[in-house]
């Protein structure tokens, strides 16, 4: 553990003790984790050859503390973290993940105002209907370090028996350098009902300047073992940003300006996102989950290959294997950096398969996650073992392996694998 981490742990423990002593009747949850990461880099990837374009650390230590407080209708979730690695100076950061006020207007009507994490879909790794939720990674669906941050919103929910109706207004407004900036106005409506064993929701979502999208999600249980769920969201056109190289015949180009644009914003073609999933529990307690996700906003295999040729061209220039005038080497580097924006933590291409096996016995938890790109068959494997030392302390080991052809989505990532070892204290 680094000196920075030790200072951070002491600071967080003192803060928590003071808060706990000062606040009688407060609901709280507190966790602090220290996680060390060793990374084996993919030094031959054209995205980041010899780790020279966007240098990545091979050793890192994260100390992360999460504090949740709730008093009356007011609740907040705070994250304080310290990071040290072999590349950059140690750094502290904090974030207010949530700060909201829940007001119960009656037994049937509730209002929430503030920053809050809302998640709407039943999907485990992917949530096409999670139109109001923050970005998250399918290879870490449980957000183990508590790093997801809520969105600024006003929501109103009316409850009636086994049904509810929720309206949400969102605006990612920001206060910067003493000036308040409104973000785009965003509206979402969800009607939920529980009907003959079926959880069923209908969802509408509209963002200023974009088109209305509509969707549904559902889940149901069959017998003692099996749960099925699904999500579907569709709209005319797409607001996704695409690299201009995708619609060009020549991948050997250097763009002079930012090369991304909305390609299908005026299209009348229906773009949809679909998730189908299940989970099955065996009598011995082993739980298996499986999901298929299709995202029409993603790249097709031919578009991916075109983009990869473009990346390889820029990498060739950077490595000197493709000769260009010296004044073009800098712009080419910028093109390579811009190209990386095509990659999305939620998946860059169209088809994905997700699997998870979980078993808990006594003090041990075993989890094995598989995420596969269905278009190029590249895979992410994430086995995790957790041992509960006590109610308050646990230690864990997590290994993440990225497998696939050198020009596939996960085979071309910056790293080949990473190992996390962590200890967590919870109160």
């Amino acid at each position: 553990m680094t000196s920075l981490s030790r200072k951070f742990l002491i600071l967080a423990a003192v803060c928590f003790t003071v808060i706990k002593a000062a606040a009688q009747g407060l609901e709280y949850r507190f966790s602090i984790a220290d996680e060390g990461t060793l990374t084996k880099l993919n030094l031959t990837t054209p995205l980041n050859f010899q780790n020279g374009i966007l240098p990545q650390p091979v050793q890192q230590n994260d100390a992360i503390s999460n504090l949740f407080l709730s008093f009356g209708g007011l609740s907040t979730s705070l994250n304080v973290s310290a990071l040290a690695n072999n590349l950059t100076p140690p750094d502290y950061s904090y974030s207010i993940r949530e700060l909201s006020y829940d007001l119960s207007l009656s037994d049937n009507l509730d209002v929430t105002v503030g920053r809050k994490i809302l998640k709407w879909g039943p999907g485990y790794a992917f949530n096409p209907t999670g139109v109001v939720e923050p970005q998250r990674s399918p290879s870490d669906p449980s957000d183990r370090l508590g790093q997801n941050v809520g969105r600024t919103l006003i929501s109103m929910t009316a409850f009636a028996g086994k049904s509810s109706l929720t309206f949400v207004y969102l605006n990612d407004a920001q206060f910067q350098s003493g000036v308040f900036h409104w973000g785009e106005h965003e509206y979402a409506l969800r009607a939920y009902t529980f009907l003959s064993g079926l959880d069923l929701s209908g969802i509408l979502h509209y963002r200023q300047g974009d088109r209305l999208e509509a969707g549904t999600n559902w889940s149901c249980v069959f017998g003692e073992n099996l749960e099925l769920h699904g999500e579907f969201l569709a709209k005319k056109g797409s607001s996704a940003m695409y690299h201009q190289i995708l619609s060009s015949d020549n991948p050997d180009q250097i763009f002079a300006s930012y090369p991304y644009a909305e390609r299908f914003d005026n299209s009348n073609e229906i773009f949809y996102k679909l998730l189908l999933g299940e989970q099955y529990t065996f009598e011995n307690g082993i739980n298996i989950a499986f999901e298929y996700y299709r995202n029409m906003d993603g790249l097709s295999i031919s578009e991916w290959n075109q983009w990869m040729k473009f990346v390889k061209f820029q990498n060739g220039i950077q490595q000197g294997s493709i000769a260009v005038p010296p004044q073009m080497i800098g712009p080419s580097r910028n093109n390579l950096l811009w190209a990386l924006q095509t990659l999305s933590p939620r998946g860059t291409m169209r088809d994905y398969f997700f699997g998870r096996e979980y078993y808990s016995a006594n003090r041990w938890d075993f989890e094995f996650i598989q995420l596969m790109n269905g278009d190029d068959a590249s895979i992410v494997l994430v086995p995790t073992v957790t041992y509960k030392i006590s109610e308050f302390f646990s230690v864990y080991g997590r290994f993440t392996a990225f497998l696939g052809r050198s020009d596939s989505e996960y085979g071309a990532l910056f790293m080949k694998n990473s190992t996390n070892l962590g200890i967590q204290f919870q109160l």
Partner: protein, 250 residues
């Protein structure tokens, strides 16, 4: 008239009020009526909360201990709040046969199956479903004396697919109608668990179950002890038992 009186008594016992059971005309009670009366010893009110401690043992060694606050409303709604530090903020909601779990990390309720366990050998249904009369049809098969106490032996068969067990053999004390022991079976016919109802105590002016022991018949040596304390009548709005309200609970 006697029949009408019997129906009224059963209806009252199945609802909120507990009155002395001694002197009931046992000979005329059906299996379903005995089951309803026995449920009263596990549920003091129509809407109440109870603190539940679950202790898991493996080869008589304590391996895990969990604390839960269980809120029950009516015949079909249960909300379980997890109190241990490692699962704090987690909730289990059960409405009729359907269950959702809410975990603060994922911030959303997830639909779960009856076999997904709350902790160790205790299934969600063991904690959440305490009114067997709602889930099972009962018939008296015989009478037996257990540890010197005369008991009815009831055969309970699941009325609904979502009931925690397919079949239960259930021993109920003749005099007090307190559950004495139970043998639980899965749809496959496998003998799944044995339960002994160990201790009853005066709680909030009523005699209620305060300890039971679950023995896992599929995995030898695994035992769970469940202790109940702090029974209290508690009124809760309906929305507390709506899946979408889980994210608002603390």
């Amino acid at each position: 008239m006697k029949e009408l009186l019997k129906i009224v008594i059963v209806a009252i016992f199945a609802g909120t009020t507990i009155t002395p059971l001694h002197g009931q005309d046992n000979a005329k009670l059906t299996g379903d009526e005995i089951l309803r009366l026995s449920d009263v010893n596990r549920n003091g009110w129509t809407s109440y909360s109870v603190t539940t401690t679950i202790m898991n043992y493996e080869d008589k060694e304590l391996t895990e201990e969990g604390l839960f606050e269980v809120s029950i409303k009516g015949m079909d709604k249960t909300l379980v709040k997890f109190m241990n530090a490692d699962v704090k903020g987690q909730y289990l909601l059960m409405v009729d046969d359907d269950m959702w779990i809410y975990m603060p990390n994922t911030r959303k309720p997830i639909r779960i199956t009856p076999l997904q366990r709350l902790m160790g050998n205790a299934s969600n249904g063991d904690v959440a479903r305490t009114r067997y009369a709602e889930d099972y049809a009962a018939k008296v098969t015989k009478e037996e004396t257990i540890e010197g106490v005369p008991c009815y032996v009831l055969e309970l068969n699941a009325k609904r697919d979502g009931a925690t067990y397919k079949r239960i053999d259930y021993w109920v004390e003749k005099e007090t109608k307190r559950p004495k022991k139970a043998e639980m079976y899965l749809i496959s016919g496998k003998h799944f668990k044995s339960i002994s109802f160990d201790r009853y105590q005066e709680a909030a002016g009523r005699t209620l179950l305060t300890q039971m022991t679950i023995i896992d018949r599929l995995r030898e040596g695994r035992t769970t002890v469940m202790k109940y304390a702090s029974y209290a009548e508690k009124e809760m709005p309906e929305k507390y038992f709506n899946k979408d309200y889980l994210e608002k609970l603390r």
